[in-house]
Subunit: 649 residues, 2 copies
């Protein structure tokens, strides 16, 4: 695809974008503010820009006069870039361009790291937990009338050096017909043991003929809110299809605690179990359709979820998880037939479920640790999984400490007046005119705003803080001359969008209690890291690398996250987004059997911190209840940037 | 109980019986003939005897005149012995008492051997495959919030030296509630591995409080015709209850071949599987009721059956069993959850299924070999299990050979004109007046005859042969002067009971084709033994011991069985009846885990002979198609007895 260069005046900012990029998003990415209230739907008409050079498509509506159009005026939110451009952004007064350039850093999201299949292959670790072997057995005669299974096992021993074999009853049930269907030429599916030495290989399936080139796995992240499944070709290691689906349990409670409470009702556990299995089956159906494979050729499924999701999946009553001293029923789960759980896969398929560490550091986090590879590197890594719950792991190949943070759901929009999930109509990007304090709202789907998603919230609060609209303690500057900052029923708020510019016929606002909630959430995460680091005698500056996991992480503007003190101040290049760590780990388990042995060691190695029971945690937490932190010395670069801004404004 | 001595005149025979014994049965047991057609119901009035001394109860009916009664005449079939007696049997002519004494040997059945629990205990082998351990676990705190399962396992490791533990999902599901029900005082049920070294012990159940004194097992013989179950107390080793029940599959075919054919129909396999499970569940319900135990305290079930019954039980299609080269799907079966098979026992109960040797030497025979202990003694043992099918095992602790005989169902009354199962109305004992050829029929239940059961058939044929009524080839002596031997539609027969003396308003007869069928059946068994012995270079005379298994065996008159050549001529004291060998083996497995390791070795050691494919078998078979055999030198004692009889008669 072509790329185009855009130069914004009077800002001295440039950016290179793909052909067809949206102009207002390009501006925001370049750190250029353009007033825009309607989220990008084109109804407020505020985002007028003048195309001084080059060509855009669209951007013309009844909001513009003939003369406007002739002069090159376009609505940035509706214009797409078709060539190199010079764009002039009208500013409402003559302001120093230094202000313009300081007011926003270019948006920077984390580098995305995916699983390295080639590395696995190079290291000889691409050994899936299920393998198919094709056999041509001698046909029985009166002189050689071994039982069918014995015939199969003899050939595996003799010709393939397979030993310590055990057989599933389902295989015994199938084998007479399968052998006789294709002249005793069969493919046996072998499930490898966790322990290479002393473990038993299980014959889980037999099929007529040679099916060795059709062998698939399902990897699944069982999230509190959303489930994601992947269909993986075990011949190549490649994911053929992926699908996400809300967890059907949402109707019974948004978070794990309310699910646990529901599970305590009569038949509640059965219901929640059944509902999550239905969600899993929907995903399996979808990824089978999309990849166009024969479902009978799926040999294994690996699932990862937090401890509550795992217990509900396995129909284990989770009630002791939510009560001190927070004891899960188990953290290691035996392999179980997928069909026994109600999962719509063949009788031969064992469901492997990721082990957990504790009640609040579950298999999803362990899967992330495995998938990211942090457990086998030297670098001191901080792993943060921010979802409906937030968990932290710190460590490297020598030690690992983990904790769940009572961060609350602010990062997913929970507890925020106009908070919402990252779906259509959520303000996900934001800028502000430092002079007029008029906003630039960009919503998901470029529609009029409905609310604010988690990554949007971080950007809004950080931006307002950088310009002094809110202070260190998260309070609005009461002296600013704008209608957008006001007090409603005693609560101070900033109006992001007036009601006629929204989908909901109400002013969309950010309130001081919202900011408090965000500060508490980021404070919990940050102080969790601090507490664990102190416990092992390290400082936050020693962190070599940050892995962000969870859907949230891919949209977070890293500089803004540092600005509010959600992330420690490190080189943003060291922040890596691994996406869905749980799914990544589940996939990894499908590709390399080695990890199944390692994972038990890793869970044993992971020291769990019950932060609420750790005395220093409260001190760290209180210190983190500021923007970015009580102690700005932890954020030297931010400090100097804020100082510079202060002098300019 | 009191015993009484009876002296029979003019026979010079005595017998000691229990107080209350039936007089006609006492006579027959002593080898004394008394005419009797009606089976012992008292309607034919033929069995008149004179009580010369002593006291009987009953034996008086309208068949006797006042004078008869005053003279001490009684109907033997209705009289019970109440003191020492001198009894005179009227004989229709003056015959030499030597004839009387030669005409019948006293009935002798095999010594019964039961399992020796004390020996097991003495040898330290009373180690059931499931064990309960009571634990008082430390209660969790914030400082010690191990998962419930980890807490349990730690205690088992630390305080009971249990290692290599694995856990069932069902235990994880139960443990949170169970631990908290009784202050973390629990009983864990452990299932032991087959291999003592390297095997994994499985935690299959947890229960609140101390339940170690309540631990039970079910042992079950899954027969083609009948199922027998025992409920065993694993604390003491004692069977608390036993119950038998027809196999519900009988409606779908009498023998294994017809069951296999039914299983080939659409849904046939599912149906037969379901029906046998229903029969099993009925038995379990009954033995639970009878023993008054809590069904949740049953920890294990062991089942033994022939290969077809086992495959139907496990829902494995048996169709290749009935077709050459007679290949079963498997002969070793993995442990499987009883509940998965539909067996109405707790989720934690594993069903252990006895392994087989081949398509026609199944787990029932292996169980018999294990239960009888023949696999661990020096003596050369011949094991015969005679049921709907007949199987032979020959060998000792060093070697074992086995075969199934196509004996047909004659021993169970099959293929015999008036053949029937050993139920009420079946002639089970018989004698004949050597002079008049009038019969003495004794039926099961002392009612008028309906037919002939297997053991009765052997006695009838042997008795007729001894007296020359039928010859070496099984043909009636056409020259005898009696209405009872006649030709009907070209077939020669002996009338056992005239129709007015029967329940069925038809003459009950024994035909030459019936005798042929019996000869073929016993010939198949005998020649099977011969063929196997020849293959290992031994003679029938080398046999030290015969074990008879199967319900049939307990009633067989051993001398008569030798007379027809069913058994080789050995000291009858060496013949031991072990009853239901399959059930005995299943019980043994419930009591000693050691046997589960041994059994796999034993099945590997058992050399299977496909007799129909062994050339010498046909020669041996043809030679055995005589009474007792072509070569009377195999039966020296019988030969001299027959010679003596010939001279006398």
């Amino acid at each position: 695809m072509n790329t185009h260069k855009i130069q914004f005046h009077p800002y001295q900012k440039k950016i290179t974008v793909q052909d067809g990029a949206n102009l207002i998003r390009a501006a925001l990415e370049a750190g250029v503010h353009i007033n825009a209230s309607c989220g990008g739907e084109g109804v407020c008409g505020k985002c007028r820009v003048i195309i001084e050079k080059g060509k855009v498509a669209g951007g013309i509506s009844e909001k513009l006069s003939r003369q406007d159009i002739d002069e090159g005026v376009r609505q940035a939110c509706k214009a797409t870039v078709k060539s190199d451009l010079v764009v002039r952004v009208p500013v409402e007064s003559d302001i120093d361009s230094s202000i313009l350039n300081l007011q926003s850093t270019p948006r920077k999201t984390a580098r995305i790291q995916e699983m390295n299949l080639d590395e696995l292959k190079e290291k000889g670790l691409f050994v899936p937990p299920v393998e198919k072997i094709y056999l041509e057995l001698p046909q029985p005669s009166v002189q050689d009338n071994l039982p069918d299974i014995t015939r199969l096992i003899s050939s595996l021993k003799l010709n393939h050096d397979e030993h310590r074999l055990v057989v599933d009853l389902s295989v015994i049930r199938k084998i007479p017909e399968v052998l006789r269907k294709n002249a005793f030429k069969v493919t046996a599916t072998l499930a490898r043991p966790v322990r290479e030495v002393g473990g038993q290989t299980r014959i889980i399936n037999v099929q007529p003929g040679d099916t060795t080139d059709r062998n698939y796995a399902v990897a699944m992240d069982v999230g509190t809110t959303t489930l994601y499944g992947q269909l993986i070709d075990l011949k190549t290691g490649i994911a053929l299809a992926q699908y996400g689906q809300f967890n059907g349990q949402i109707s019974y409670g948004e978070d794990v605690i309310s699910r646990i409470i529901y599970a305590e009702k009569p038949n509640g556990l059965e219901k929640l179990h059944q509902v999550v299995i239905e969600s899993i089956n929907k995903i399996i159906k979808k990824i089978i359709q999309r990849s166009k494979i024969d479902p009978d050729e799926i040999s294994t499924i690996t699932l990862a979820g937090n401890t509550t999701m795992t217990q509900l999946l396995l129909k284990i009553n989770p009630n002791s998880i939510r009560r001190s001293p927070y004891v899960p029923a188990a953290t290691l789960y035996p392999p179980i037939k997928a069909s026994e759980l109600g999962i719509a896969l063949g009788d031969h398929v064992a469901a492997l479920v990721y082990p957990a560490v504790s009640s609040y550091v579950g298999g999803d986090i362990v899967a992330g640790v495995m998938g990211s590879g942090m457990y086998r590197t030297e670098e001191l890594t901080l792993f943060m999984d921010i979802g409906t719950n937030a968990e932290i792991v710190i460590g490297n190949k020598d030690w690992l400490a983990c904790a769940a943070c009572s961060a609350g759901p602010a990062f997913e929009g929970g507890g925020i007046t106009f908070g919402m999930r990252a779906t259509k109509g959520a303000i996900e990007d934001f800028s502000i005119d430092p002079h007029t304090l008029e906003p630039m709202n960009i919503t998901i789907g470029n529609v009029t705003p409905k609310g604010i998603c988690g990554s949007g919230l971080i950007i809004i609060v950080a931006t307002l803080f950088e310009l002094g609209v809110i202070n260190h303690a998260g309070k609005f500057n009461r002296d600013l001359n704008t209608q957008r900052i006001r007090q409603t029923e005693g609560i101070w708020e900033y109006v992001l969008a007036w009601k006629n510019e929204t989908q909901i016929q109400r002013d969309v606002v950010l309130t001081e209690p919202d900011i408090d909630n965000l500060i508490r959430a980021k404070g919990a995460l940050y102080s969790g890291c601090m507490t664990m680091l102190e416990a092992v005698g390290l400082r936050i500056q020693d962190v070599d690398r940050i892995f962000l996991a969870g859907g949230f992480g891919s949209y977070v503007d890293l500089e803004k996250a540092i600005t509010i003190g959600l992330l420690p101040e490190i080189d943003t290049d060291k922040v890596v987004f691994i996406g869905n760590g749980s799914l990544m780990g589940a996939k990894m388990s499908s590709l390399t059997n080695r990890i199944r042995k390692d994972v038990v060691e890793v869970t044993k190695k992971m020291t769990n911190f019950e932060l609420s029971e750790t005395p220093s945690y409260m001190d760290n937490y209180v210190a983190a209840l500021f923007l970015p932190h009580t102690d700005l010395e932890h954020f030297p670069k931010l400090k100097s940037r804020l100082d510079a801004l202060k002098h300019t404004v």
